[in-house]
Amino acid sequence: MRYDFDFSAPLSYWPDFVAGAATTLGLSLAATVFGFLLGVLCALGTTGRSAWLARLCGIYVEAIRNTPLLVQIFIVYFGLASVGVKVDAFTAATAALVINVGAYTTEIVRAGINSIHPGQLEAAECLGLSRLQVLTRIVLPPAIERVYPALTSQYVLLMLASSITSQISAEELTAVANRIQSDTFRSVETYLIVAAAYLVLSLVMRLVFWAASYIAFPRRRRIGTPI
């Protein structure tokens, strides 16, 4: 059968697409920043001295990594509502994404911390650095620099996964697409446009992360080689 592609109908909704893409980026940005902080803290917890804290962080990571994001989103959104805490879809979506990506970040950063040579720590201790100084100046910067590519991929995946929040009616790109395709009956065109938009967004994110690595890691800026 013949099918005439008509992109004009969905494209006339372009302000909606732009708004949806902006929401997707906002969600991803918030989840990236807070998820990164949560992940670094939990990674320090898993590698730290306290055994019960390490076990707690381990349970968190395993629980999140072995259940679907969709179910986590439902638990946050409907679960909080059922215990009387009313949150809007965007907040619930952000919270669920932070909890989710925090677990993955934990695993990645933990691998980075474990790759730090014990001699570095001993040297730092000999120089009389405090524990906080050792963490923030000796352990974390090279650890994060080493796992930076893995973190980048994880946050790009997070941006793509944020499409799942359309299921609790957070008005991001996929939710916008669902509405537009039911308005225009041009579902192939609508979803192709959205797929292209996601592709562009993921390229932009990779570019931003690549540029940020040159600002964040002076070694790379100076000699252009990763450690």
Partner: protein, 216 residues
């Protein structure tokens, strides 16, 4: 908050069964397609290699939800009638093929080049080299990450609920709509997914450790 009733639990287990069916479909379909992708990506001519790379980049740069929507809402407008199960199986297979293809490409390429050269010197044909020299070694390398990726497949089948296929997540939504006990319902759902995924995670880690020990 009382627990779920017997029929509700039965409904959930039926959903669990469909999740398993969908996972197997996605793994088999995506595995076959992914194997083709990996082989073309390594051994294809330059344009074929570039095309498969484009395919991988396109699929990996698109959310699974959009792929599933394209299959389910898109194909009927092109004149194909499609069931939710077929659409979900198709969308998931395409998604899985891009990731498994890329994983397996890495595994094929990590077999030392000298193995291939030695086999060539023994006058083995390309097919013989692949079947008897390269793939057996690549498969050993590929097992831990493949098992690890199965966890992703099981979790991602939950998105089939968005196109109306009643698997575990959808079954949970249906029960929640009837009972409005979201917390307990979705906790049970999460526990069931965990029961499916955690053994796979542990198995993958164990395989990885075994592999590392064997290569020390």
């Amino acid at each position: 908050m009382s627990l779920l009733t017997g029929p509700q639990l039965q409904f959930l287990f039926q959903g669990l069964l469909w999740t398993v069916v969908l996972s197997v479909m996605a793994f088999v379909g995506g595995g076959l397609l992914g194997f083709a992708v990996a082989i073309l990506r390594v051994y294809g001519s330059a344009p074929v290699r570039n095309l498969t790379m484009l395919y991988i980049k396109l699929v990996q740069g698109t959310p699974l939800l959009v792929l599933l929507s394209l299959a389910y809402f898109g194909l009927p407008t092109l004149g194909l009638r499609i069931e939710p199960l077929t659409a979900a199986g198709l969308g998931l297979s395409i998604y899985v093929s891009a990731y498994l293809g890329e994983i397996w490409r890495g595994c094929i390429e990590s077999v030392p080049r000298t193995q291939n050269e030695a086999a060539e010197c023994l006058a083995l044909s390309w097919r013989q080299r692949l079947a008897h020299v390269i793939l057996p070694q690549a498969m050993r390398i590929a097992t831990p990450p493949t098992v690890g990726f199965m966890v992703q497949i099981v979790k991602n089948t939950s998105l089939a609920s968005a196109i109306g296929f009643v698997e575990l997540a959808r079954a949970g939504q249906v029960i929640n709509n009837a009972t409005f006990k979201p917390f307990i319902t979705f906790m049970v759902i999460a526990a069931l997914y965990f029961a499916l995924c955690y053994p796979l995670s542990v198995w993958s880690r164990r395989l990885e450790r075994k592999f590392h020990v064997a290569n020390r």
